[in-house]
Amino acid sequence: MTRVDVRKGLWITLFVLPGLAVVGVFILLPLFVSLFNSLFNWQQLIRGGFVGLDNFRKILLADPYRTRFFNALGNNLKWFIVTMLVQNSIGLLFGYLLSRKVAAGGFYKRIFFIPVLFSIVAVGFLWGLYLKPNGLVNAFLKLVGLPGWTHAWLGEEKIATFSVIVVNIWRWVGFPSLVFLAAIDSLPGECFEAAYLDGAREWTTFWKIVIPLIVPAITVITVLTIIGSLNVFEQVYTMTGLDGPPNYSTDTIGTLFYRTAFGSVDSGNPQIGIGSAIGVVIYLLTFVASIGSIVATRSREVEL
C-alpha cells in the first residue's frame, strides 16, 4: 500500500468513525444488551440466573404471554394491511395525479406533506381530543345529520385500532405520495409519448408502464411500511394507552414490549427478561420481513 492510500484510508476512517460510534453505542450496543438480558431470569430489577431461551419459549408457547404476544402481533398485521391498502394506495393515487399536473398541484403537494412534519405525539394528542365522545368528529357527524354514526372511536374494541391507524394514515400519507410522485416524475417522457401514440388509455398506461417502472419506489415504501407497522408505539401510547385498551384491542408488540420491560404504572411490575426477549423478537421480525419484501419485489423490477 502506498503512503497516499494509507492516508486516504485514515481520512475515511476519521469521517466514518463518528457515525460508527453513534450506531455502535445507540443501536448495536442496546441490541446486544437486550439480547443478553433476554437470556436471564429477572427478579424485577435484579438479574437472576441464566435461563437460555426460556423467555422466548414463554412468549411463543406459554400462556398468558403467548395470548398477549399473538394478539399484539395480530394488531401489527392489521396495521400493515390497512396501511398498505389504504395509505399506500392513496399515496400512489395522489402521486400519480400530482404527476399529471392537476390544477393547483403544487398547493396540494404541500398540504398533503404538512402533517408528515408534525410531531407524532402532538398528532396523537390532538386526534385523541377530536375522537372523544364529545369531540370534533362526533360533533361534525351530528352537524351533518348522521348522529347514528357517532362512536366512542378510541373506546370500542372493534374500531379502536382502525381509528388509530386512520389517524396515522392522515399524518403519513404525504410521504408515500411524494415518493411516488418523484418516482413517476423521473420516468422518461418517451415512454408516455410512445404509449400515447400507440393509443393506450390512461388506465393502461398506469398499469402497464407506470407501475412496473416504479417498483423500486414501491419496494422502499413497502419496506418502510413493514418497519413502521412492526414498530407502532407512540400512536397507541398517546391515543389509547400503554395497556392497549380497551381490552387489549389496540395492543401492539411495541406497547407490549414497553409495559412488559418497564411495567405499567397503573397495573403491573417490570419483567425485564421477557421484555428484552420481545424486543429481540421485534428486531428479528423486522429484519426478516424487510429482507423478504426486498427480495420479493426486486424480482419484479424492470430495467429501462
Partner: protein, 414 residues
C-alpha cells in the same frame, strides 16, 4: 495530680469529645415527592431540633424514575439511609433483594399500627415488616351536594337506593355518573368501591388469598355483574370517556356522582372551589348490612439494610411513626395518615374517610395479587373493559382473572 495523670485525663476528655463528635450523624433521606420537598423540610427540621446530633439530608427523585434510581443506588452500595418505599408488590422487590432492614426491633411504635396499613409494609415471603406506613387511600362514591339537595335525594345505604338516586338524576336530565371505561384502572377503582359489599368483603378476600376459593366463586361473579346495573347511567359513549373526562365532568358539575378514591378530593376542591361535594361508602347489598370500603396503603418509610447509621436512621423512622408526622400528613399534605391516634378533627373530610374505614376491606387486586405478572390489576382492568363494552360476561371476566393468576399463584395450583 502529676503530669501523667493530667495527660491521661485530657486524653480521656478528648476521647469522649471525639466520640460525641462521631455521634453527630448525617442521614440521607430519599423521596419520590419533589412537589412536597419544602413541606417535608419543615417536618425534618422539627426532627433535627429534637435530635441535634442528627442531620437529615433530603433528596427527591422523579416519581416515575424513583424505583430504577433507588435500586441502582442500593445495589451499588450508595443508597440512602432512609427512603420512601412502595407498598405491597413494590415493597417486595426491595425487601427480598436484601436492601431493606426489618424494622420490628428498631421501631417499637409499629406495634400500635393497624393491620391494614402494616400489610403494605410486610413482605409476603418472610412476614417481616420493612416499612413505617405513611398514608392510606379509600375508595368510595363522590356526589354533588347541590344536585342532591335540588332533587331531594339522600346518600344511599343500599344498592337499590343508589340505583333509584341515579334514576332520579337521569329523569331530571342530569348525567348521573361521571365514570367511563376508556382508562382501565378507573374500572378497577369502580370495582373496588362497589363490589366488596356483594362479594362479602373480608370473608371472601381472606378465603381467596388462601386459595380456599377463587375468582370464579359465584359471589365474585355476581359482584362484578352488578357493575352492569350502572351502564344505563354512564355517560353517552362511555367506553370513550377517559379519566380526565370523568374528572372534568364532576368538577364542572356536569355529572352527579364520581366513583373514585380519597386521592381525588384535594384536586376537586382546588379546581372548583364552588363545587360542593360529599362522599358515601359503596352501598350495601341489602338494608342494614355494613357498607364496606376498599382501602390500601399508599407507601412506607424504609431503612437501608446496609446503612452505616442504623441507630440514627431508626430515630428518624420512629419520628415518622409518631403523631408529629401523622399531624403533618393530615394538615400539610391533606393525606389520610395511618399513624394511630392522630387527631383529625381539624379536617372533616379526613375524619369522614376514617369513619368509613370502620368497615374496611383490602383493595383486592392491589393488596393480594400485585406481586407477579400478570397482576390481578392487569387482568381485571382489561376484562372489565370487555364486560362494560358488552363483549365479555361477568363469568368470562372471572375466568380470565382466575386463569391469569393461576399461572403463578401457588394457592390456586393445589
Amino acid at each position: 495530680m502529676n503530669r501523667r495523670k493530667v495527660f491521661l485525663a485530657s486524653l480521656l476528655v478528648f476521647a469522649v469529645a471525639g466520640f460525641a463528635f462521631a455521634q453527630k450523624a448525617t442521614i440521607q433521606y430519599w423521596t419520590w415527592r419533589p412537589e412536597d420537598v419544602d413541606k417535608y423540610n419543615q417536618l425534618l427540621s422539627d426532627f433535627q431540633k429534637q435530635n441535634p446530633d442528627i442531620t437529615v439530608v433530603q433528596t427527591a427523585q422523579k416519581n416515575t424514575e424513583y424505583n430504577t434510581i433507588l435500586s441502582a443506588a442500593l445495589s451499588g452500595g450508595s443508597g440512602p439511609d432512609v427512603f420512601q418505599s412502595r407498598a405491597y408488590g413494590g415493597l417486595e422487590t426491595f425487601a427480598q433483594s436484601g436492601y431493606m432492614e426489618p424494622l420490628e426491633q428498631w421501631v417499637p411504635e409499629l406495634k400500635g399500627f393497624a393491620s391494614a396499613p402494616l400489610r403494605g409494609a410486610t413482605s409476603i415471603k418472610d412476614g417481616k415488616i420493612y416499612g413505617v406506613p405513611f398514608a392510606s387511600q379509600t375508595l368510595f362514591v363522590y356526589y354533588n351536594k347541590k344536585m342532591y339537595a335540588k332533587l331531594g335525594l339522600k346518600p344511599p345505604a343500599t344498592w337499590a337506593q343508589f340505583l333509584a338516586n341515579l334514576d332520579a338524576m337521569k329523569k331530571a336530565g342530569i348525567q348521573p355518573l361521571a365514570n367511563g371505561g376508556k382508562d382501565g384502572w378507573t374500572l378497577e377503582v369502580m370495582m373496588g368501591a362497589l363490589c366488596p359489599n356483594f362479594y362479602g368483603a373480608n370473608d371472601y378476600f381472606n378465603a381467596v388469598v388462601k386459595g380456599q376459593t377463587n375468582f370464579q366463586d359465584a359471589r365474585f361473579v355476581n359482584a362484578i355483574g352488578r357493575l352492569k346495573d350502572l351502564i344505563p347511567y354512564l355517560p353517552n359513549l362511555y367506553m370513550g370517556v377517559s379519566y380526565t373526562d370523568m374528572q372534568t365532568a364532576f368538577i364542572n358539575e356536569q355529572a352527579g356522582h364520581f366513583i373514585g378514591g380519597s386521592f381525588e378530593a384535594g384536586y376537586f376542591a382546588s379546581q372548583n372551589p364552588d363545587l360542593q361535594f360529599d362522599v358515601f361508602p359503596g352501598p350495601a347489598a341489602k338494608a342494614g348490612d355494613p357498607q364496606y370500603v376498599s382501602t390500601y396503603a399508599d407507601g412506607n418509610f424504609s431503612m437501608n439494610a446496609a446503612s452505616k447509621n442504623k441507630a440514627a436512621a431508626a430515630k428518624l423512622l420512629r419520628w415518622f411513626a409518631s403523631k408529629a408526622t401523622g399531624d403533618f400528613f393530615i394538615k400539610s399534605l391533606k393525606q389520610v395518615s395511618v399513624v394511630p391516634g392522630v387527631d383529625t378533627s381539624a379536617d372533616p373530610f379526613i375524619t369522614k374517610v376514617l369513619s368509613f374505614q370502620k368497615y374496611e376491606t383490602p383493595y383486592v387486586f392491589l393488596v393480594g395479587f400485585r406481586y407477579q405478572q400478570p397482576t390481578g390489576s392487569t387482568l381485571a382492568q382489561a376484562a372489565l373493559q370487555g364486560m362494560l363494552a358488552g363483549t365479555l360476561s361477568p363469568a368470562d371476566v372471572a375466568k380470565q382473572i382466575q386463569d391469569g393468576i393461576a399461572t403463578y399463584y401457588a394457592p390456586f395450583k393445589k
